[in-house]
């Protein structure tokens, strides 16, 4: 493993021989708490707005991009071609191909990562990756019972068959089904799953509240220093994330009652304050080859070096629902000849404060690293001063599929401002999944 000789200096190219994929910039609309400012905005409208803001920022009007990849976690059936339909509403060339991606909360990361791969392979020169979600304008389905009746009715050819189908209708079938945040296989909410993990790792209420507070303070400070001026385009009169509470304090956070894992009694530590709320929003990231960026006089903020997906068996209790990144990161580090400490910034998605802290605790734990990750030693601690330095989901909110785009754009800009170094991205997702990635400053 000669490559490991000097990982700090080595170019972190996970798969050598490929050209770099460059993060050029990003755009998102401010994230808004569910059933608030964007309550009547559709996914398509929000994604179109995020894309149009990006197009405006980088002068992409009329361009045929290599591809636009994005997605939404909660989608209406009419939005089967959500991203393409959104692209058609933007100032991009209508000859830009687009496709939908869905990997729960990692949708944005997977969309961006797969575009980066296409760029690295030379298949495309440019691409826009991102995501959108609304829990306000969420799809509501008819009940399974009514659906079955309606489908049978549509197939019926005779009056008798029609009456037969109708006879199966029951009044309770009229109750519609709204999407929940429950895991389909376990029936537990994501928060209740995380509450189990949080308790298992002994993460204290205090530590979670402190992380939440830091998130709000960091995000507010980033706004104050105009950090987001070229990362956000307002939407519907909102120019700042509406979940941000710049004046939050540990005392205020401390008054909140546990919202998840209430079965745990004393061990229930997760509140609305240290968990992300349901949020609406959209994000987009512009990627390109170096040639593309140079040809169009576009900035090169960072290389999207490599990414890795992980998944855990949470259904059978082998691992906590949101712990997949803990497994994916060591694989990504090994492939790139890096250690956990070789990063200048860590962007660990704050689904819950407990998620971030459990993941960090796992990496610090020699037993976990040996037994679960198959490593000789623990991955070790990170410098907490490098963690989510411009805020994360606890403050900004988390419109599921839009979070990856928010993180990649933010991190790329941070790296570019610093002018050197690397950043690690970790995003957990429903279904026991996660996507992690490495970016490198330019």
């Amino acid at each position: 493993m000669a490559a490991q000789a000097s990982p700090a200096q080595a170019s972190t190219s996970g798969t050598t021989g490929l050209r770099p994929a460059v993060v050029i910039g990003g755009n998102r609309i401010p994230f808004a708490r569910s059933n608030g400012k964007y309550s009547t905005a559709s996914n398509q409208e929000m994604l179109t707005a995020a894309l149009d803001g990006l197009v405006a920022r980088f002068g992409l009007q009329g361009q045929r991009m290599g591809a636009v990849a994005a997605g939404a976690v909660l989608k209406h059936s009419k939005d089967f071609n959500l991203v393409r339909e959104s692209v058609l509403g933007t100032a991009l060339s209508p000859t830009t191909p687009a496709y939908d991606v869905q990997m729960a909360c990692a949708t944005g990361m997977e969309a961006i990562g797969s575009l980066a791969n296409k760029i690295r392979l030379g298949q495309i020169e440019s691409g826009i990756g991102g995501g959108v979600d609304t829990t306000s304008d969420a799809p509501i389905a008819v009940s399974e019972g009514l659906r079955a009746v309606l489908l049978e009715l549509s197939r019926a050819r005779t009056l008798q068959q029609r009456l037969g189908a109708l006879s199966k209708f029951r009044p309770k079938d009229l109750t519609p089904n709204a999407p929940g945040t429950g895991e389909p296989r376990t029936g537990m909410s994501m928060g209740d799953h995380q509450a189990v993990t949080t308790a298992a790792w002994g993460i204290t209420r205090q530590a979670q509240d402190e992380l939440a507070l830091a998130s709000h303070r960091n995000l507010a400070a980033a706004y104050d220093r105009h950090f987001f001026d070229d990362l956000i385009t307002p939407f519907r009169g909102v120019s700042k994330d509406t979940n941000l509470r710049a004046d939050s304090t540990l005392e205020k956070l401390g008054t909140l009652k546990p919202a998840f894992g209430r079965n745990l009694g004393e061990k229930a530590t997760m509140t609305a304050g240290n968990s992300t709320p349901l949020t609406d929003g959209a994000s987009a990231v512009l990627l390109g080859s170096e040639d593309y960026a140079r040809e169009h006089d576009l900035p090169m903020l960072a290389n999207f070096v490599d990414f890795e997906a992980g998944a855990v068996d949470f259904v059978n209790g082998e691992e906590g629902l949101l712990m997949a990144p803990a497994y994916a990161v060591p694989r990504l580090l090994a492939r790139n000849g890096l250690t956990l400490q070789d990063f200048d910034f860590y962007e660990i998605h704050e689904a819950f404060a407990g998620t971030v802290l459990s993941t960090l605790a796992a990496w610090e734990d020699p037993d976990f690293c040996r037994d679960k990750l198959g490593l000789e030693n623990a991955l070790g601690s990170i410098d907490r001063g490098r963690l989510n330095v411009n805020g994360s989901s606890l403050a900004a909110g988390h419109p599921f599929a839009a979070t990856g785009g928010r993180i990649v754009a933010t991190l790329a800009k941070m790296l570019h401002e610093k002018g050197s170094g690397r950043g690690l991205v970790s995003v957990c997702a429903a279904g026991g999944q996660g996507v992690v990635a490495i970016l490198e400053a330019r």
Partner: protein, 291 residues
């Protein structure tokens, strides 16, 4: 010991068996002839039993299993169990079927069973024994394909308040239940019993609604034990190869309910438990082990 074979034309319908059993119980009550607690030396059998595909799919969807053309173990149970019920509902069976409590199951699911395989089913009662709360009995069902045994299920039932001999000492109190790590939450509606009955035909009144359940001494309708087992196995059963599984039922699940569920795996043994987070009472526990 060889048993007399009572060959049935087809798998009997459970409602008819329940009705027959009720008639038998009424007659026994009227005539007062309880008779000796001796199991008859019979086995009931049906050959060429095939799974009904729409019913299989309905079952798989109901318990959250993957829809695929092999039979989940609990679905096999549901398909063949009426043959065992035929044994229990027969006039020569010494315990009253209605009101018997389902205690546990142990199943050898010896290999994956295809949906198109014809099952030859035999069922008999075995091991009548004293229990601190009454008399327990095992009902064994065996399914084979072309002479190869593929599935053997033993269900243990309890006839409360009936003893053949001395009433045994009450077993010492169980250790207090400590909830394991939760991995799931099942939200079961008031109609969960009716839904399961509609799929597998087990219309035991205690599962159907509050009124019939109350008539049989329950507070409210309760979930089918095999429905709970089916949901547990949908998560835990291996997808390939044979396996052994068992389940022990404790506090009944009064519907509607949220059942907390936990799975843990040590080596190859995957154990699971279901409990009520509010009352702290355990509903069931069991395990799955690949063969």
């Amino acid at each position: 010991m060889s048993r007399r074979d009572v060959r049935l034309d087809a798998v009997p319908a459970l409602p008819r068996l329940y009705a027959e059993a009720l008639a038998n119980q009424v007659r026994t009550k009227l005539t007062g002839s309880s008779g000796a607690l001796v199991l008859p030396e019979v086995e009931h059998s049906v050959d060429g039993v095939r799974a009904d595909v729409p019913r299989l799919e309905a079952y798989q969807q109901l318990v959250g299993d993957t829809v695929r053309p092999t039979l989940p173990s609990v679905f096999v149970h549901g398909t063949v169990f009426p043959v065992a019920m035929s044994v229990l509902a027969a006039r020569d069976f010494p315990l009253p079927l209605l009101g018997m409590v389902h205690l546990s199951n142990q199943v050898e699911h010896l290999r994956p069973i295809g949906v198109d395989e014809a099952l030859d089913v035999r069922a008999w009662a075995d091991k009548l024994r004293d229990h601190h709360a009454g008399t327990a009995v095992d009902v064994v069902c065996e399914a084979s394909v072309g002479g190869e045994v593929v599935w053997v299920g033993t269900s243990t039932y309890l006839a409360k308040g009936i003893w053949a001999g001395q009433r045994p000492e009450r077993r010492r109190d169980r250790p207090e239940f400590v909830a394991p790590v939760q991995t799931g939450a099942w939200r079961l509606g008031a109609g969960a019993g009716r839904e399961y009955a509609a799929v597998l035909g087990d219309y035991n009144p205690i599962h159907l609604g509050a009124l019939p359940a109350k008539a049989l001494g329950m507070k409210r309708q309760i979930a089918h034990g095999m429905f709970l087992a089916g949901k547990a196995l949908a998560q835990t059963a291996p997808r390939e190869g044979g396996y052994h599984w068992d389940i022990v039922f404790e506090a009944p699940v009064l519907l509607p309910a949220t059942v907390s569920f936990g799975v843990a795996t040590t080596d190859r043994l995957r154990s699971f438990e279901g409990w009520n987070a509010t009352s702290g009472r355990r509903h069931f526990h069991g395990a799955v082990r690949p063969l």
